[in-house]
């Protein structure tokens, strides 16, 4: 298991691994927002938590396509499925590697981008905490979507279509916690709900992901 995690991290950091693409995308989306809605600081401050959450979600979504398809194309996935690792474990590790290479950098970058969007001072800790709690759910749900579409040619667009509705509760609770925090309101309730979703998906969804991957491998 650890070996798989180390391998996935190595692959992500080497050339062509795509590490940093998600982060760059997050940056670009955030920079585009003021161009679209205008430079007014007060207006930006209102939408900043939501924009940061949406940007993080899109950056996650963008990198899901590579999560399993690379291993599928070169045949490693077949070999992993016949290896003495449970497929549920393989997929959980893949989700963890995805989170470490995509989700965690987004959490760390969010406050910097918050400055660009005039995020109110109270909001920084909230956006970081809510992303820290919420992005693992995005990775785990995304792994399910990737496992569903792994055998399909041009599955990328379909993957987004399938995963987006599943992201709705995570986005709502995460962005709501950040929004309330930025306004100086109590955001504990949505944060707890978000934590519940994250823990629930981490505990249960790998079983569904492994089930669909087995179907796709046969």
């Amino acid at each position: 298991m650890i070996a798989l995690l180390i391998r996935d991290l190595q692959l992500a950091f080497r050339a062509g691994g795509g590490f940093g693409l998600g982060l760059a995308f997050f940056l670009i989306v955030t920079v585009m927002v003021p161009f679209a809605v205008g430079p007014d600081a007060a207006g930006l401050a209102v939408i900043a938590p939501g924009v940061l959450w949406l940007g993080a979600l899109l950056a996650c979504l963008l990198s899901l396509d590579r999560l399993l398809s690379l291993d599928w194309e070169d045949g490693s996935l077949d070999l992993l499925a016949t290896a003495p690792l449970p497929l549920e474990g393989v997929l959980s590790i893949k989700a963890l590697a995805h989170w470490l290479t995509t989700g965690l950098p987004l959490v760390l970058a969010a406050p910097v981008l918050g400055v660009l969007l005039h995020l109110p001072a109270a909001g920084y800790i909230w956006i970081m905490v809510s992303l820290l709690i919420g992005t693992p759910a995005l990775s785990v749900i995304g792994t399910f979507g990737a496992a569903l579409t792994v055998g399909l040619k041009r599955g990328g667009l379909l993957l987004s279509l399938l995963v987006m509705p599943l992201y709705v509760p995570t986005l709502i609770f995460g962005a709501e916690a950040a929004r309330r925090g930025a306004l100086g309101l109590a955001g504990e309730t949505p944060l707890l709900m978000l934590a519940g979703i994250t823990l629930g998906t981490i505990a249960l969804l790998p079983f569904a992901s492994a089930a669909v991957l087995r179907v796709n491998l046969r």
Partner: protein, 243 residues
């Protein structure tokens, strides 16, 4: 005799061919009757005027939008557990019907909302939930269409349906939490004082019965079509093998 006998495609086709014509007729009579009764023989509401009468389309389609998904969930479970092909095909057949029902509910809601709330759309929890449900239907149908092998498609879509159902319920709670609504309470419920007045309710019951029948008819008919399509591809495969 057990109900699972109808899981045999041939038996299914034979029996639905017999029951479909009366069911078509029944749903047509109920919907036409209910709509005429509702539109022309009920008084205008003292607050909402004649606009209230869109309820005869709005409520039944909203009812079926949710229940179609519920039926797909049950059919998917049956496929996962007992692997009856008819069940998987019935889930596939129900999805576009449910999608259209959701669309009708959203459109009639918008048409109703414009004079009542002064807006075509509001991010009200109920409306939002239906929009999310619409997205779930889209994803489900897209996944069916993307996969060539029918058994693989059935397996993947049924698991998507199960997982999707959990997330749909979560989304429902999430949007409730996220915004308080404009939407009035349920039009019909057993335990509340504030129901629609009886004079409006009776034609509504007729319309709902009509929509339920219409849904059943469409699903049976479309399942029959799916079975015939599978039969054709099975015949073609057999022909290829005998060459």
């Amino acid at each position: 005799m057990s109900i699972w006998e109808y899981a045999n495609p041939k038996k299914f086709l034979r029996s639905t061919e017999r029951v479909l014509p009366p069911l078509w007729l029944g749903s047509a009579v109920l919907i036409t009757g209910g709509l005429i009764w509702g539109f022309f023989f009920t008084p205008d509401d003292y607050r909402q005027g004649a606009t209230v009468k869109i309820i005869y389309l709005h409520v039944p389609s909203a009812l079926m939008a949710i229940n179609a998904w519920f039926m797909m969930l049950v059919a998917s479970l049956i496929w996962v557990i007992r692997r009856h092909h008819v069940s998987a095909l019935a889930a596939r057949a129900a999805a576009p019907v449910g999608l259209v029902m959701t669309l009708i509910a959203l459109l009639t809601g918008a048409i109703w909302g414009q004079p009542m709330w002064g807006t075509w759309w509001a991010w009200d929890p109920r409306l939002t939930s239906f929009l999310v449900l619409f997205l779930f239907y889209l994803g489900y149908i897209a996944l069916w269409q993307a996969i060539d092998d029918p058994d693989t498609a059935a397996d993947l879509t049924s698991i998507l349906c199960l997982v999707g159902s959990v997330f749909a319920v979560l989304s429902r709670y999430a949007v409730n939490f996220w915004n308080q609504g404009l939407h009035q309470g349920a039009s019909l419920s057993l335990d509340k004082e504030e129901n629609v007045a009886d004079v409006f309710a009776y034609p509504l019951y007729v319309c709902m019965a009509g929509f339920i029948l219409l849904f059943i008819v469409l699903v049976l008919y479309r399942t029959g079509t799916e079975i015939r399509a599978r039969r054709m591809s099975a015949l073609l495969a057999r022909e290829r093998m005998s060459e």
